[in-house]
Amino acid sequence: MLSIEEVLHIERLARLKLTDKEREMYRNQLNDVLNYAAKLDEIDTSNVPPMYHVLPVSNVLREDIPREIFSQEEALSNAPLKEGGFFVIPPILGGEE
């Protein structure tokens, strides 16, 4: 059973603020799903290689050639807060706004 401390830890890792009610609900629901996932322990898979991707391709790279995609205006068009061509956010470190 997941503890509330563990739920708080995941919440912090995911940068996802939950209410007390949500925390308790997800604690129970995640437990249900994780218990169900324990079905995977029925089979010994120690010799099975993991399949990261279904395609037989890897390291697909392109030439690093600059090209015009968006104007600055377009790139900022959906920003919640902007100023002088920048995205504006609250301070990174604690303090007054």
């Binding site: 995941i10 890792l13 799903v33 169900y36 995977l40 993991p50 395609l55 377009e74 919640p80």
Partner: protein, 481 residues
Amino acid sequence: MELADLTAHELLELISKKEVSPQEVVKSCIDRIEKYEPKIKAYLFIRNPEEIINSVKEDEPYSAIPIAIKDNILVKGLPNTCASKILANFIAPYNATVIERLNKKSLNIIGKTNLDEFAMGSSTENSAFGPTRNPWDIERVPGGSSGGSAASVAMGSAIWALGSDTGGSIRQPASFCGVVGLKPTYGTVSRYGLVAFASSLDQIGPITKDVTDCALLYSFINGYDPNDSTSLNIEPYRYSPLKGDIKGIKIGLIRELLGEGVDPSVKKCIEDSVKIFEDLGAIIEEVSLPYISYSVPTYYILAPAEASSNLARFDGVRYGFRASGKTAEEMMSNTRGEGFGPEVKRRIMLGTYVLSAGYYEAFYLKALKFRNLIASDFRKAFERFDVLISPTSPTLPFKLGEKVENPLEMYLADICTIPINLAGLPAISIPSGFVNNLPVGLQIIGPVFSEAKLFEVAYAFEQATPFHKRRPQLGGISYGV
């Protein structure tokens, strides 16, 4: 039957013979929206009717064929909400590659369709803007997550539509709404401009009224795109008229997908389908894919893991909703807590947990190993069979609210479709019968890049059966609800 009930290829023929005008076709669809959209709610955004009619060009026949686009595929200048509060005011600054391709054919985009928030769900009930109803019975769900796209086609408001499929999100709603849906081979349709849910599983695909339209629309959207690093540089599928000769073709009936948990009426429908295939000269045998029964737990580890990483970008900095907060981190946590709905949060929590230190090997890595076992089950089956069949959904369309309280039960609704995404295979769902006037879908699965063969098998079945001709009795919609 009205024009809005016809398929794209039927309408194109009528237009070329000058029996109907392109404007009449478009108006027939707009008329459907005006009459039935208030009850069905298939759309999150509908273009101005005048604009839609003005988009018809005399020398571009496809401009007369309205198409609906799932609201997680970017169309420049139109809203793209992913049915989430966090993107409620987002306007797409560029076109998805599939939209660029449709624009080359001048397809007429009629609107953006409802979905489960960020395509996470199987009923379209997880939309932040309210659920879509099934045109066959408005007490029931249209399936999901592309429920809006499937309903838009079934109600005749669009002649065809695009959806996206991560674990069944095209095929299951197609099944529930009595239409055709294709999940293409992974890597054949560009994902550029599709809002990512689980990148190793997501594919865009067509939702149409028959197999010919499905093949046509797939031919428009498939092909290599350098903007998607998982797009394959191979010879694309090109449409040629379907013949439907399947004499001698070997079909495997997947035993594990007809067992426990499958509604007896759905099972009966699939057994009837087997007889139809036999009459068409196909050879059918039962086949066992033992690891398929581990697909649901495998998927519900891998998909949330990828989602938790993909959805990290929604942080209130560059676009979308922003909540207040004294520091950047507090603002981000509040934004995500207030902006995401319950199912999306559930999956972010689950995905973050299975990727976190101490659990990565026990859950994520383990699931990747099962993905390998499931994919090799299919590879072995295709050594003996040309295609495999199963129900698309183990149940008939269920009622709104029936599974909302129990996420695990909702996840189990995806049992027949999930394994196909895990293995990267193509699969098509076609109407295969009706139970109490509710549609039942048949899923046909092929090896990678076998779309042409899937179309032939599906077309043979379709031409031998009347189900694709049936339309919901929209006039009989009960307005009492």
